[in-house]
Assembly symmetry: D2
Homo-oligomer: 135 residues x 4
């Protein structure tokens, strides 16, 4: 049973995130989710630059699955969440969502792989993170 | 049985598409695929602006599923494909891929919905396109 | 003599903002500055969506001038400022900068024009904003 | 007197380049110009990756100056130009413009500096390029 908390990052929508359809561009949600994952990682003590320097590793996206329910609009203040679904030796599955108040706008499942900076080969998730992430 | 051809768009990788990991940023492939879908649509006689003007409709992304196999690199010349998988009354499923020569780098399945410009409600795909897209 | 305060917005650097050169991509600073201008506008009581709805106007960029002194890096926490330099009937000149602590990384001067949503013709800056912005 | 030719790259406008104002987002022109500069460089025999590998150098943006005259729209087919204005030991000044047919939409002057990949210190522009670029 998971005791992992849901992390949430407030994200404001600017013109740069929207398109001529008058709503947020579909790839912008992918960006919002990267921001939330990075801040979630930081709550566990590590930045991306820190992971590279200390362990010579980096998390790369292996699969991305997004469901778009309702569009976000210019000037919206969104909440973008991140939560562990599953963890393997070198793999990490996250559930992420984009909310406007109680409304669920977008839902995502992102699978990451921990790879070596040299050669991009899968390596074990650093133990200091695995310990915190055991679901 | 499908007689739909695979459409392919050459896409060059610039600094703007890459990130500090030294490879193409994962959301950039989503952009590449939008470019290929749009040019594929154009081969069927319509631009996005044209669809809005003539029919008052727009295709929005409903689901996005991407598998990342190998990273693309700065200055790569990629081919980004688009091909119909399935078509419903207002829905359209496309298979897309990003290739470097024979290497498959990324594969995607994108479900689009044809919606009215006013209200973003699902409406029928314009007949002139349905006729061409019957799988 | 100006009594306008310098507004400052904290901005974190993510992979999405960087490029394969290992630093922040030069166009990302333009995005950071849009975010800061928008939040600065909000401190004067208006969102972009609000300006469109209440006055039928929008601020568009007329000129952009950026000086890049030092690169920002992945995971940096930056401060992005906005401050009025000058205001005309329909024009607004802003000074903006990107700082990392005390280090000045990028400096910008951005000239905006207030235009009508229909036709993009220059119109007067709404009085409620002019009153606050008189330098 | 310059015998430098004006290089021109066709660029199509997609949703990803536009914003909720219904036009191309102002930072997208900066991206368009990077694409044209890179292809212009390629006509002189070098890619960015090639410059890094062969000479250990990279061109970074030192100043950016853009004038926006008219907005580009969704589905427009633009021409983005690049042309040398001036060259110094480690500096390169380019004139760039964005055109729709005969209409000048945006004009830019971009100053680049050739820097070492290690340390980002200004170094001489490789001789093989200087010879071609003498104005």
């Amino acid at each position: 049973m998971s005791k992992q908390k849901v992390f949430s990052l407030p994200v404001r929508v600017y013109f740069q995130d929207t398109d001529a359809g008058g709503v947020v561009y579909h790839a912008s949600y992918v960006n919002f989710m990267e921001r939330a994952r990075t801040e979630w990682l930081r709550t566990h003590g590590y930045s991306n630059a820190g992971l590279m320097k200390e362990f010579g590793v980096i998390f790369v996206v292996r699969t991305l699955k997004l469901d778009y329910f309702k569009p976000a609009l210019l000037d919206d203040l969104l909440n973008v969440t991140a939560q562990i679904k599953d963890i393997g030796r070198s793999r990490l599955a996250l559930l992420q969502s984009v909310l406007r108040g109680d409304e669920l706008l977008t839902e995502g499942e992102i699978h990451l792989v921990c790879v070596s900076l040299e050669g991009f080969k899968p390596v074990s998730v650093p133990e200091v993170l695995r310990k915190q992430w055991k679901v």
